[in-house]
Amino acid sequence: MSHKKQTRRDFLKTTGAGAGAAFGVPFIITSSALGNSERPAASDRIVMGGIGIGNMGRGDQWGYLNRKDVQYVAMCDVREEVRTRSKATIDGHYRNHDCKTYNDFRELLARTDIDAVHIATPDHWHAIITIEACRNGKDVFCQKPETLTLREGPLMIAAARRYGRVVSGGSQRVLEDYRKQVDPAWAGEFGKIKSINVNVGPLPKLCNLPPEEMTEKIDWDMWLGPAPWGPYNSKRCSGSYSINGASWRSFSDYSGGGMTDWGAHHFGGATFICDVRELQPEEVIYHDDKEGQFLEYKYPNGLVLTHNRPHAQNMQIEGTPGQKLPPKPVPTYKGGDNIGADFIYCVKTREKPFRDIELAANTAVVSHLGNIAYQLKRSLKWDAARQEFPGDAEANRFIDRARREPWQL
């Protein structure tokens, strides 16, 4: 990628001007380019591409396509049928043939005309693509769960900060689904919250599905990417929402199972309710008794977040209601009433989005610590500043995993 050549984006960022002949823009200015009373001029639109257009990716894509201030120009997927279908959708929306499709996300990211991307690949790709996007000067909306390992979060945050990128995680549910608890909690009506419970699962498991004949046109090597090699099986790479063995979400090489898949929502919601999104737990206490296994996460401010505590409901709060605290305004999306609008707004204003990657990564840490505790069947201490398990060589082995060549962070 040549960085010396001034990109459209560079030009627009410095002058705020519209299309101009001096810089090689065609003299034929379409009405779409000029904008009309309802649609901003091309120069004011955010140019976007999408990577991974499965179930969630399709929903995100549609959200961005429907925005008048976004021009969606490219998509990438390792499935040919998805590329064909997606191009038809996008071209049909704009009534042109301009959408370019890619099998390799690096080619999409190398385009200098693209401002931002949304990523909805399986989880094992999130970190690599997000970091590469930041290196290429793109802002990123990355679906949840944003990370697969503990090491990935800090690296994604660092890349975002290094290059001044807006990187938003996914999970519209954190702000939207738990208002019955969020509003009174932030209003101080629970008093000091002592504990909150989250019920979520299952844990991820190893995938040992048998090989199948490949009946779809999919770049299997690219689908696997940094994950260990395994034979094609339609359930291994299915994007269905099942976390019970019928999709990649179930399997530890690609996902953290329900702990991360739905944990992104529920742990995200719980930490939002308790206003600890900026913190990470310092200890995870593992319990295994006649009532089953559950965890207690201890936060530096004294909060205890429990996972699957016996007889406790999801989002069940134990507070001190007689000791009301001063209310605080509830953080919310900017620029609209959904997380996609919040992202686009922040792309324009360069603010941190509601689910900034740091907050998203902190939520994922809860899931990952839990998975490790359950796998090792014991308690763990966690040093958030050093991002390691102090004095615990065995647990530290789980902070990351070697990626399949040629992929690396």
Partner: protein, 232 residues
């Protein structure tokens, strides 16, 4: 039960019910804090790797060695680094075994493996933040293979020492392939140095990248870095 599981491992392949190996899974957990149990499990896994295992079974054994492997596992795992089908999962274990011998094995493999496997070895050295690998990785910045050069730049950045920064800086003017990645590596080094309170070194890197001749994104990163230095 464990013996049965290891017998089952010899025939294990994709599609086999994973429950036949659960005694090994359990042993890998109960081995924690019990060196004798851990050593026995490791020995069994290493012995299994000598058998003619399916790829799946081989990978499984490596997954367990990731948990219980020690210096004793290094020779076996190192021996697989050049094998296209085994290399990744050998690194899956080796990369996470925190003994100097694992680093030595990976560094030595730089000279013996090629192609994608070489890139894998480079990335594992980076993930281990192996300071002793800086010199050989530095040489790879000039290799004709742009993918290897890129991998080396990323790894040097991850290692993040003043030495790796110096190597990257020296290579920048004549960097083969993707110059942006060399710069990215330098920026990562600067961040690591700053986090280690080495302000002057970090600032020097950022200053070197803040000039007008640099692409806009690089100048922006340098500006942000200089601000961070000023705050520190």
């Amino acid at each position: 039960m464990l013996a049965d599981a290891f017998e089952a491992l010899k025939k294990f392949d994709w599609g086999t019910d994973l429950s036949v190996l659960s005694p090994i899974d359990d042993a890998a957990v109960t081995a924690h804090g019990d060196p004798a149990v851990s050593q026995e499990l490791e020995n069994r896994l290493l012995a299994a790797l000598k058998e003619s295992l399916s790829r799946d079974a081989h990978d499984y054994a490596c997954r367990k060695l990731m948990i219980v492997g020690t210096v004793a596992s290094v020779p076996s795992l190192a021996g697989q680094l050049g094998n296209k089908e085994q290399s990744h999962m050998a690194r899956y274990a080796l990369e996470r075994i925190n003994v100097p011998e694992a680093g030595v094995a990976l560094r030595e493999a730089l000279g013996t493996v090629s192609g994608s496997q070489k890139i894998g070895v480079i990335s594992s050295l980076g993930s281990r933040r192996d300071a002793a690998a800086v010199a050989p990785l530095g040489k790879l910045l000039q290799t004709d293979d742009p993918a290897v050069a890129r991998a080396a730049a990323l790894a040097l950045g991850t290692i993040g020492t003043a030495e790796s920064a110096a190597v990257l800086q020296a290579a920048l003017p004549s960097a083969n392939g993707d110059k942006q990645i060399v710069i990215d590596g330098l920026l990562v080094c600067a961040e690591t140095l700053l986090a280690a309170d080495k302000h002057a070194e970090a600032k020097a890197i950022y200053q070197s990248l803040a000039g007008e001749q640099q692409p806009r994104l690089v100048r922006l990163a340098a500006t942000r870095g200089l601000l961070a230095c000023a705050r520190a």
